[in-house]
């Protein structure tokens, strides 16, 4: 029987297409976690048997430039229109944004076209004049993690590991960080809305872990766009991340999973900076708290080799998590190059324990 509670909760759901996606990549993920998006494509294609198109012609959405104030709204609307046009040309209708900033941009642009129809017409004219292209708006537009959420049970069914600490047999304690632009701008576009974001919490619940509900759970990671980009402004960013770390530490999290590329980067790297500047570490025994993306976590549980999915490119070591999960790994292969050649190892930070 459908209750009032069901009806309320229905407002926090969103439509996520079943198959046949056009994939729009993330600038930050490609650079700072360079194996993450290939892993995502492999999970969709090989584990979930979905059709997802990876287009060589796409570009940045220009979102970081827009949110830093150096390009006009008209420019990003037209770049978004070009991405839609490429999707149309490739024969797809369902658009996946691999970046939370981009996802927020795409939704904001479509919302603006709805509120100010003349801006859509101007964008059409601008795109045609600049590139000769026309476009249709996607039938379905989601963030990459929405797909992992939708198929979380299928992934659980194939997983070789669960989020259970093999030493204590207790659930792994996981912090989820959603990223402001996933649901704070347009709550109806995020699973669970802005109040009860469930896109990552649903993965934790389904895969056997325990959510960590700490006071600053919804606070921004501190990217701030121009505030991070300029060295002279960067204290804004690290201060906001530190506020979160200090708030979560008493709950002793085993893992942080992040939705947004920027957040993943900051929650990883600012732990290194705080360790070196303040001699403060947030994990156990001098380590940091490992930070993973949603597909990196899925990949680990599905049994992918951690060094094949790029976890050695994180500054915070993931080994404490691998040990808890009971994942066997070869430390000697962590820092090898292509074909297993010796390319040297990274310097150790002075304070943060890394291996």
């Amino acid at each position: 029987m459908k209750t009032r509670k069901n009806e309320i909760w229905a407002a926090y759901q969103k439509e996520i297409a079943d198959d046949h996606y056009y994939f729009a990549r993330s600038c930050i993920r490609q650079n700072f976690f360079p194996a993450a998006e290939n892993l995502y494509l492999n999970i969709l294609r090989n584990e979930l048997e979905k059709d997802i198109y990876d287009d060589a012609r796409q570009t940045t959405c220009t979102g970081i430039a827009y949110h830093s104030g150096i390009i006009p709204f008209e420019t990003i609307m037209t770049v978004v229109a070009r991405q839609f046009s490429l999707m149309n040309e490739a024969g797809y209708e369902n658009f996946i944004a691999s970046c939370v900033t981009s996802f927020g941009i795409y939704v904001e642009v479509m919302d603006t076209w709805n509120h100010f129809p003349e801006t859509e017409q101007k964008t059409r004219v601008a795109l045609k004049r600049a590139t000769g292209k026309t476009f249709e708006i996607p039938k379905n537009l989601v963030h990459a993690s929405d797909i992992i959420y939708k198929f979380r049970k299928e992934i659980a069914a194939k997983a070789k590991f669960r989020l259970i600490n093999q030493n204590s047999e207790e659930p792994i304690k996981v912090v989820d960080h959603i990223g402001c632009h996933y649901a704070k701008i347009f709550p109806q576009e995020g699973i669970g809305g802005a109040e009860y974001p469930y896109v990552l919490a649903g993965l934790i619940d389904e895969w056997g872990g325990k959510q960590v509900d700490y006071p600053e759970r919804r606070h921004c990671c501190g990217f701030g766009f121009r505030q991070y980009l300029l060295k002279s402004n960067r204290s804004y960013s690290v201060t906001n991340s530190k506020k979160k770390f200090d708030s979560m530490q008493p709950f002793k999290p085993d893992l942080i999973i992040a939705n947004c590329p920027g957040c993943t980067f900051f929650l990883d790297r600012w732990q290194y900076v705080i360790a070196e500047m303040k001699s403060k570490t947030y994990g156990e025994n001098g380590y940091g708290i490992p930070v993973l993306t949603y597909e990196e976590l899925a990949g680990l549980l599905l049994g992918y080799n951690p060094w094949d999915i790029g976890l050695q490119t994180h500054q915070v070591a993931v080994e404490p998590l691998l040990d808890k999960l009971g994942i066997i790994y070869d430390s000697g292969k962590k820092y090898k190059g292509r074909n297993g050649e010796d390319i040297g190892i990274p310097e150790n930070p002075l304070v943060l324990r890394c291996c």
Partner: protein, 228 residues
């Protein structure tokens, strides 16, 4: 100098979408990460703007205040009257550059550095950020793992299955000249190129006034803005 600043502001859909009416409750300030770490106060910004005082607006456009927001948009979720202070900030920033007022504040001047990093990377590579341009001198928080990755990037990026330096789909691929040309033509058509030119032109004048070397790329004026 532009005479009617409000007339210009009201042409911006970000401003129209962002300002309904504010009753000064301050919820935006309570939730704001920028207010958390500085004396920035979005409630005051919205209150000044809705008073429609040209002189006050001009002061705002010349101030550091409008550059303190981090555009997280937490304010949009929480405003009980449907305002979005961040959208108002976006419109104010655009007008500050358009009028050249941005060079009157220390934070506003820094737009040149952002333009020379992110703006130029977009047109050169098709990415907002790109591995070849990011080193630990400019970004020390990247840490030793980044130095190791950059020093061995061909080997590591191939091991990880990327398309770095390759003309094909995939991670970190070379974006085709045709796609880069599309971006440049969009920038020309929609005002980004003109905004870049304005940022450079006004910054050149300010650098001269401050007697700091001004050319292009990472010149002394860039370093002054980026580091201090």
């Amino acid at each position: 100098m532009m005479k009617d600043l409000y007339k210009e502001l009201e042409k911006d859909v970000r401003y129209l979408e962002g300002l309904k009416s504010c009753f000064n409750c301050g919820v935006c300030t309570a939730i704001c990460p920028a207010a958390e770490v500085s004396d920035y106060d979005p409630r005051i910004v919205v209150n000044i703007v809705q008073q429609k005082d040209e002189a006050e607006l001009e002061k705002l456009l010349k101030s550091d205040t409008i550059w303190m927001c981090g555009e997280c948009l937490s304010c949009k979720t929480r405003c009980p009257r449907g305002n979005t202070p961040c959208y108002i900030i976006q419109a104010l920033r655009a007008l500050s550059i358009e009028t050249g007022f941005f060079i009157e504040s220390q934070q506003g001047r820094k737009q040149l550095a952002v333009k020379r990093i992110v703006g130029e990377h977009i047109l050169k590579y098709g990415y907002c950020v790109f591995i070849d341009e990011i080193d630990t001198e400019m970004y020390p928080e990247q840490g030793p793992i980044w130095d190791w990755l950059r020093q061995n990037k061909e080997s590591i990026l191939e091991r990880l299955g990327t398309s770095y330096n390759k003309e094909q789909s995939g991670t970190l691929r070379n974006i085709s000249q045709e796609s880069l040309n599309d971006l440049k033509k969009i920038f020309d058509e929609t005002g980004a190129t003109q905004r870049f030119e304005k940022i450079e032109k006004y910054s050149s004048g300010k650098a001269k006034e401050l007697n700091i070397e001004f050319n292009d790329g990472n010149d002394d004026y860039f370093k002054y803005l980026y580091n201090k």
